[in-house]
């Protein structure tokens, strides 16, 4: 057995010598073409949420900017570091990590490859204790989700106040995925704005503990609806689509998240937007243009990366005016939705 193992080591050594010529550069491609690698989190590409949107942004960049783009889906958290390292070690110009969960992995790999650009949606390159390492080659693509959350929250609050809910119970709900900052930002804005518009409102907040399985969000939403909630805001990616459909079945209203989700169910009256595709595209463009900058890039109403879109509903004009007014105030900085869920 020992001999066999030595044999394998020898073989590996030979393989290394052959490959050593390649090094970190990329002689196989033309010097000009920029290579971008996208590593998804465990939600996978068809998560109907930010992995998907990131992919949309990458596709747009491939079409518009003529870059080469590759993707690796992470099947589990063990794979973040190797998948990021894979792209970095092959001399990709930009390695995109998608999702909050990947922060320490980005921090680790970006430290090892200072000449490779990194970008991470919903986070930064951190150490194991989630302290931002402030690496110059890492772009943090952060969103003010609370802004989008506040806009749909205001909508729900207004409608309840005006007695336009299905039974006008003054109860609304939010179904989160896992209780983590990007999710809670949305819910914080939602609750804050709803209460601002309708002080008598009760906001039920539940978590499905999942970002992909619609069944789980459906059952949380059903519970909230059973407890008289009339608007369901899903903040759980693909899982949340189950919440939207549960709302549809129970003939109450719902709000989509991240992307425009009006097609998911007729009950969706609006979607709170988080334009991950815009962020990804912007980041890639900055590398192509040679204007890449490390550190935080904040996407918000300011740069039109958050907001809302109206879906399957004729919103009363006064409500729309109120919501747009709120958006303007937030944009102007006169009102600031909280990042943490208010009590």
């Amino acid at each position: 057995m020992v001999h066999k193992r030595l044999g394998i080591l020898g073989l590996a050594a030979v393989a290394l010598m052959i490959a050593a010529a390649c090094g970190g550069s990329s002689p196989g491609t033309t010097a000009k073409q920029i290579k971008v690698g996208l590593v998804t989190d465990t939600g996978g590409l068809n998560d109907k949420s930010f992995n998907h949107l990131a992919y949309v942004g990458l596709q747009k960049a491939i079409a518009d900017l003529g870059i080469k783009g590759d993707v690796i889906e992470s099947k589990n958290g063990d794979e973040y570091v190797p998948n990021l390292t894979n792209f970095a070690s092959k001399g990709y110009d930009l390695v995109l990590g998608n999702g909050f969960l990947m922060q320490p992995a980005i921090g680790t790999v970006a430290g090892q490859f200072p000449n490779v650009h990194f970008a991470i949606v919903d986070g930064a390159g951190t150490d194991a204790s989630f302290k931002d390492l402030k690496l110059p080659n890492v772009q943090d693509l952060l969103f003010k989700e609370q802004e989008s959350g506040a806009l749909v929250g205001a909508m729900a609050g207004m409608l309840e106040k005006q007695g336009k809910g299905p039974a006008n119970t003054h109860v609304i709900g939010a179904v989160g995925g896992i209780s983590i900052p990007p999710v809670n930002h949305y819910i914080a804005g939602y609750k804050w704005a709803a209460a601002m518009e309708d002080p008598s409102i009760k906001v039920l907040v539940g978590y499905s503990n999942d970002f992909s399985d619609p069944t789980k969000c459906s059952s949380v939403a059903k519970s909230q609806i059973g407890n008289k909630a009339e608007f369901i805001f899903q903040v759980a990616g693909g899982c949340g689509l189950g919440a939207l459909q549960a709302a549809g079945q129970a003939k109450v209203y719902s709000f989509g998240v991240d992307a425009d989700q009006k097609d998911a169910d007729p009950s969706v009256i609006a979607s709170a937007l988080k334009k991950v595709d815009v962020a990804v595209y912007t980041s890639i463009k900055s590398v192509v243009n040679g204007k890449f900058q490390g550190g935080e890039t904040r996407f918000s109403l300011q740069n039109d990366a958050t907001g809302y879109t109206l879906d399957n509903f004729n919103l009363p004009a006064d409500v729309k005016a109120e919501v747009d007014g709120l958006a303007a105030k937030i944009k102007a900085g006169t009102l600031t939705p909280p990042a943490d869920i208010p009590a």
């Binding site: 052959i18 090094g23 063990d78 204790s129 209780s179 900052p181």
Partner: protein
């Protein structure tokens, strides 16, 4: 592969390179691939043992995952509390802590099996879920959450980290890359030592002899003076220790703290495949771990190089298992001139029959 619609050669190349560092094209770095594979292989070895050992006693431990989590949690707690102490003290203490926790977790199933005959398949599945939810509780809003709202524990202290084989240095270039990218850590040696210990325990000790006897025939074991109940409990305790060790090593060598990746960890389930593929022997388990680890690592490279979904490796894995089930390997090994130890081939492993049937249930002695 051909039906996948992409270049099958590129796919195989990607798989081989990502798994074993062989035949790498596309500027893949073979050393990096080997390092990554070994990192995946390490916990599979010990969890594979944690499934294989109870198999020998006629018990089906589906609970390696829960036991691994128990080990990981305990290592993390000790690693945070004592993390600033000297590594030669802290690491062994924390590793043993992790093993004890895994032991305890599996021991619950063992005791229930031995004393009231509760089917270990049910109890270990239940314990998996309890462990998974416990981890969520601990690091999402629970007592082990880092103070910043993230779903992770604080990192363990420096004294609780297993050293990597190559220096953890971003500026030192080895095999064309900074040496810190090679994550392969000394946990590998612990896992290999565990495998050796497992083989020794199983074939060279009276306890191993008794465990195997219980798996083959409880009546014969009883006539031989083996306390069947005690053996079942001891078997589960040892198995849990191996699983707990896997969790502890993962924290000590790779993650340095609990993160949300443990919500979706599947090592303990892959371990079932490892144990079955490895035919319950230590060498087999190591080889099967390398195979599964290589497929795991290779899948990602295959996706990036050939554009084929990494999930294809699962299909491959299943086909390999089917061929094991139909005992192609046994047939092949009989054909090989050096096919030694035919007795260690599947007939020796208690079949499904042993696991699900009465023989696995201790009968009440009056």
């Amino acid at each position: 592969m051909a039906i996948a619609g992409a270049d099958p050669l590129a796919a195989y190349q990607g798989l081989l390179c990502g798994g074993l560092g062989a035949l790498c094209g596309g500027c893949e770095n073979p050393a990096l691939q080997i390092s990554n594979t070994i990192v995946f292989v390490t916990p599979l070895i010990t969890t594979g043992i944690a499934v294989a050992l109870p198999f020998r006693a006629g018990l089906f431990n589906i609970g390696a995952e829960g036991q691994l989590l128990a080990g990981a949690v305990t290592y993390t707690v000790i690693g945070i509390k004592l993390g600033n102490g000297p590594a030669p003290v802290v690491i062994p203490v924390a590793l043993i802590g992790g093993m004890l926790a895994g032991s305890l977790w599996a021991g619950i199933a063992g005791v229930l099996k031995a004393l009231v005959g509760a089917h270990e398949v049910v109890t270990t599945i239940m314990l998996n879920y309890v462990a998974q939810w416990l981890v969520r509780f601990l690091i999402i809003g629970g007592p082990l959450q880092a103070p910043n709202g993230f779903s992770a524990s604080p990192p363990t202290g420096p004294g609780a980290r297993l050293p990597t084989l190559l220096p953890h240095d971003n500026s030192l270039i080895i095999f064309g890359l900074p040496s810190s990218v090679y994550r392969v850590h000394t946990g590998l040696f612990i896992a290999l030592a565990a495998a050796a210990l497992f083989a020794f325990l199983l074939w060279r000790t009276s306890l191993g002899y008794e465990i195997r006897a219980v798996g083959q025939s409880q009546r014969a074991a009883r006539y031989a003076g083996v306390d069947v109940r005690r053996t079942i409990i001891v078997t589960m305790l040892i198995a849990g220790a191996f699983s707990g060790l896997a969790g502890a090593i993962q924290i000590a060598g790779v993650d340095h703290g609990l993160t949300d990746k443990y919500f979706s960890d599947t090592t303990g389930f892959d371990a079932i495949a490892v144990a079955l593929l490895g035919l319950g022997s230590a060498t087999g388990i190591i080889l099967a771990s390398i195979l599964l680890g290589a497929l795991h690592a290779g899948g990602a490279v295959m996706q990036s190089d050939a554009g084929i979904s990494a999930n294809l490796v699962l299909v491959l894995q299943a086909l390999i298992l089917f061929s094991i089930a139909a005992n192609f390997v046994g047939a092949i090994r009989r054909l090989l001139p050096f096919g030694r130890k035919p007795a260690a081939l599947p007939p020796d492993l208690p079949p499904a029959a042993g696991l699900m049937s009465e023989s696995a249930t201790p009968t009440v002695q009056t």
